[in-house]
């Protein structure tokens, strides 16, 4: 056995390039897994919004805002209704104007639930800390703000969200809503399984659409708190996407391990036969190969972990890397890497598996097509969309690629170019395709993913920039501007118009929404892409509101603002708001008389040549307000957009890199057989240059075929991302732009990568044979 291991070891190091390529491929894939996991975990936990992540899971809103409603619910609960619920608190919510901004205030009753906690970034805070007449301020951005005299601040807490927490009586006082209660928050008795699954794959609960079990009362509406966290949904979806991409990298590297094991077995078939003849058992041979795979994966995990740590430290997206998360990520990589490598090795031994009967294949294709149709048409869930992506990839692997390779194999030999050299090239490419089927599949899969992502991001970017151009016309925005007086600003020279925006939070039947009240005139209509009609009075809602309410233009929208009778107005326009995670309702300001809305934004339209002068003057006159140039906001928005998707691109790039290594490996294996052919051609009078040209032509042909193979799949993935994933996850629509430039980039990347991967081995071979 020791001898066997020694022989295997010598065999391994006798081909250093193959070994390095194999290691690099594993390291890259594992690196991707670790980075993706840590990044998405961190993202998911930093983008929590809505009510802070508390120990509460359900909300029961009281439409009448009466304390008696709450007490009635509490009595029923005490009497044994809602047995799953173990705790309950009354809540009042509203906005306070602080430093010119509308800041949410949450008041909860301390004595109702002794175990209430708020889960925050720097640990848990017990609500017992809240004392009468004072508030706890969450969010560092308020530390330097002067608070109105009637708000006593007990302490500041760091948090991703900005809000105030107070005792319910204090909150009622501050909001001027004595005796009113908005809702009851309910605590569920156990942590569902998917909260644990989040640790294994961040974003999975969002991706798979998990939510808490529905509990209900006949006369009251009970909502899951998760519904109140749209940003988390967005981030969860991104995280889940990235997780899928990371898995893809592992899948691709699994293919590569499989293929290189098959090659190694084929190459040493005779040797293994001899070994068996002298009494070495098959099991022993297998164990040696498995041992080899284990050693490879273990060393790769180590290197990948170190690389990932270095990368994460450098990455500005992540502030600190939690130790446990990193460990979980690394062990996840270890388990995934081990299992793919082992499955690869074991599959490589089972030859029967390489020949699948027609019946099984047809059944498989039918089942996958059914899955695809189900995902697209039969369901509206996100998991359906992912199912469709998965089905598309499976179809590509089991049907499309083999069919095309078969077709080329049958057709190409009949295609006879005049020049014999071209014939050699065409046939050799065909052979390469057939022999390196797995590398080809892995490669085209990776390129397709790159195409899909690039097309989707490109389309979103096009739509987003178009939107920003109309939404942010040249002008200056003044934020936290409640102190500014529009009447005065209007007098300044160069100012053409000053527009006022009142903002706050309101409630729809589906939950909270941002509310903006302004004059919905022709100017505003243009900003939101609405064809202005003076006779139509109503509200604009963003796509998210429309999708969640399943409402169309013309339907009535019922909106509740704190301390006001509900507003009932028709929806006259649905607008896109990419990047906006929350629901948004735009009201005509002549309909609103709520003291809960704060006039905290002004839009100042200025003559182009006096923009900077007015900017300066605004800064001097209102030092507490924030002055923002629309052009700058636009640039900033695009910048943030690009950054969010940089990581996605990076991972797509890693997947391509892993696939390229696979192609390189298989080309290397094939160049061994080519050495003899090159020698022959050399005696026939081919120069080194001619041989290189030939190798290059064959590589390019191979690259072209791989890339062409990946185009339909890539467009399919992009289509699903635009038409299914985005509307289902974020409720916004993207029109798929098949821009040649956007499509060309990943193709060019793939083509050059493929050529490089197949030409490099040639250079190695020609070097070593000299």
């Amino acid at each position: 056995m020791i001898l066997l291991i020694r022989s295997q070891w010598r065999d391994l190091i006798s081909r250093p390039i193959v070994l390095i390529a194999l290691l690099a491929n594993l390291v890259l894939a594992l690196f991707a897994i670790t980075v993706v996991h840590v990044t998405s975990h961190t993202l998911v936990h930093e983008f929590v919004e809505g009510p802070p992540q508390s120990s509460y899971h359900y909300v029961v809103p009281f439409p009448d805002n009466r304390e008696s409603s709450y007490f009635r619910l509490r009595e029923r609960w005490r009497a044994g209704e809602l047995p799953e619920i173990v705790g309950m608190v009354p809540v009042v919510e509203g906005n306070l104007e602080i430093g010119g901004r509308a800041i949410p205030l949450i008041g909860i009753d301390l004595i109702s639930d002794s175990q209430a906690t708020f889960d925050l970034r720097d640990g848990q805070i017990s609500t017992h800390l809240v004392t009468q007449d004072s508030v706890i301020v969450f969010g560092e951005d308020l530390v330097n703000t002067t608070f109105p005299n009637d708000i006593k601040v007990l302490e500041f807490r760091s948090s991703a969200q900005t809000f105030l927490l107070a005792d319910i009586a204090t909150a009622q006082n501050l909001l001027d809503r004595k005796g009113e209660i908005d809702a009851a928050w309910l605590r569920y008795n156990q942590v569902p399984v998917w909260e644990w699954m989040e640790h294994l794959s961040p974003g999975i609960s969002t991706g798979l659409g998990f939510s808490r079990p529905e509990i209900s009362l006949t006369d009251l509406n009970i909502e899951s708190m998760d519904f109140w966290q749209p940003t988390q949904t967005f981030v969860g979806s991104i995280a889940f996407n990235m997780g899928l991409l990371g898995m893809l990298a592992v899948l691709v590297s699994g293919f590569i391990v499989y293929e290189s094991t098959v090659r190694s077995i084929e190459r040493r078939e005779q040797e293994f036969d001899r070994l068996q003849a002298i009494g070495v058992s098959v099991l022993q041979i297998r164990s040696v190969l498995i041992l080899e795979a284990t050693a490879l994966v273990l060393s790769s995990v180590l290197v990948a972990a170190i690389l990932a740590l270095v990368f994460l430290r450098q990455n500005s997206l992540i502030i600190n890397v939690p130790k446990t998360t990193f460990l979980i990520a690394t062990s996840k990589g270890l388990v995934l890497g081990m299992s793919t490598a082992l499955i690869g090795v074991i599959l490589a031994f089972t030859r029967q598996l390489r020949k699948v009967s027609w019946l099984v294949l047809v059944l498989g294709v039918v089942a996958t097509v059914a899955m695809l149709c189900f995902g697209i048409w039969m369901t509206t869930t996100l998991v359906g969309a992912y199912l469709a992506v998965f089905a598309l990839c499976v179809l590509h692997i089991i049907a499309l690629t083999p069919a095309i390779v078969r077709f080329l194999d049958a057709f190409l030999p009949r295609f006879k170019p005049k020049s014999l050299i071209s014939r050699i090239n065409v046939r050799a490419t065909c052979q390469h395709l057939k022999q390196a089927k797995f590398a080809t599949i892995a490669f085209s899969l990776a390129i397709a993913t790159a195409i899909g992502i690039t097309l989707m991001v490109g389309s979103l970017r096009t739509d987003f920039i178009k939107l920003l151009e109309v939404r942010l016309p040249p002008g200056i925005q003044l934020r936290e501007a409640s102190a500014a007086d529009p009447m005065i600003i209007r007098q300044w020279t160069g100012v053409e118009e000053v527009r006022e925006y009142y903002r706050g939070e309101g409630n729809l039947s589906i939950g909270k929404t941002d509310v903006i009240a302004t004059s919905l005139d022709e100017f505003e209509a243009r900003r939101f892409g609405y064809e202005y009609d003076i006779d139509r009075v109503g509200v604009y809602v963003n796509e998210k509101v429309a999708a969640q309410l399943q409402a169309n233009v013309g339907d009535d929208l019922e909106l509740k603002l704190p301390s006001m009778t509900p507003i009932d107005l028709p929806i006259i326009h649905i607008f896109k708001s990419y990047g906006e995670m929350s629901r948004v309702v735009l009201l005509p300001n002549n309909q609103v008389f709520s003291n809960q809305l704060v006039r905290d934004r002004l839009l100042i339209v200025v003559q182009p040549d006096s923009i900077s002068a007015i900017e300066r003057k605004l800064q001097e006159t209102y030092p507490s307000a924030t002055v923002l140039n629309h052009t700058e906001i636009r640039e900033q928005a695009v910048h943030i957009f690009n950054r969010t998707f940089a990581l996605t691109n990076l991972i797509a790039l890693i997947a391509v890199a892993v696939a390229v290594i696979g192609l390189f490996n298989s080309a290397l294996a094939m160049q061994g057989a080519k050495r003899a052919e090159y020698r022959l051609l050399n005696t026939l009078g081919f120069s080194r240059l001619a041989l290189f040209r030939q190798s290059f032509t064959q590589s390019s042909l191979l690259g072209v075929v791989c890339c062409l193979l990946s185009v339909p799949l890539g467009i399919g993935i992009a289509w699903i991302l635009c038409e299914l994933v985005n509307p289902r996850a974020f409720q916004w629509t993207i029109s798929l732009h098949l821009a040649p430039m956007t499509l060309g980039y990943p193709l060019l990347l793939g083509l050059s990568a493929a050529v490089l991967a197949s030409v490099l081995p040639w250079i190695f071979v020609s070097r070593s044979s000299k």
């Binding site: 014999l420 022959l680 005696t683």
Partner: protein, 220 residues
């Protein structure tokens, strides 16, 4: 049509040092002569053949090939890589022990390849006739992997002489074949040598060719 080999030596790196494989070898091969190079394994037969064919360069000495109807001799040492390549392509045919055919070309295409490379398309008919005579007519569109060892060597000979080179070199052309096949291959080589009037140089262990050869060079 004449080969002059003048005190040629060739060394190879051997472990840490070097080893002279060919040491001070000289001989002449006259026009239309058939020559056998003999000697035990590892003595340097292949090396010598590769030297004469210009596939490797000697460390000492000079190799001259003189073409038919040409007064000038071509010294292989003085040709640059491109000229050497062209000389080999135009005037030399080579048969190895195995791997003589491009695996992605059919038998017929393999035979036509040297014609395409040397632009001697007018020899096409003769080349195809020769394939017939060699008994390969039913395998014209087969790929090399589909042929038996003997058929492969016959096709290799057809390829080596298709462009009617003036020199024909064969390195253990029968090393992989049984006695019957190997006798046949030697006969075919001999026939082509006779018919085309080429210089034939064969490196071999086998005695079968001895009967034909006008001259034997022993390496020891």
């Amino acid at each position: 049509m004449v080969i002059h080999v003048q005190s040629v030596s060739k060394k190879f790196p051997d472990g840490k040092g070097e080893r002279w494989v060919i040491k001070d070898v000289s001989f002449n091969i006259e026009p239309h002569q058939a020559t056998v190079i003999r000697g035990p394994s590892g003595v340097g037969k292949t090396t010598l053949l590769n030297l004469i064919a210009g596939l490797i360069q000697p460390d000492n000495g000079e190799i001259e090939l003189i073409l038919k109807d040409s007064a000038v001799s071509t010294s292989l040492n003085r040709l640059n890589t491109r000229e050497l390549l062209r000389f080999r392509r135009d005037h030399i045919g080579f048969v190895y022990q195995f791997f003589n055919l491009v695996p992605t070309l059919t038998v017929q295409e393999n035979v036509l390849l040297p014609l395409a490379l040397t632009k001697r398309e007018h020899l096409r008919e003769q080349a195809l006739d020769r394939l017939q005579k060699l008994g390969l007519q039913s395998h014209l569109n087969a790929f090399p992997a589909q042929l038996s060892g003997g058929e492969q060597q016959r096709a290799a000979i057809a390829r080596a002489v298709a462009h009617e080179p003036q020199f024909l070199f064969a390195d253990e052309p029968t090393g992989n074949l049984d006695a019957e096949n190997s006798a046949e291959v030697f006969k075919l080589l001999w026939d082509e040598h006779e018919r085309l009037g080429t210089n034939l140089v064969v490196a071999t262990h086998s005695d079968d060719i001895g009967a034909y050869a006008a001259r034997t060079i022993h390496l020891a």
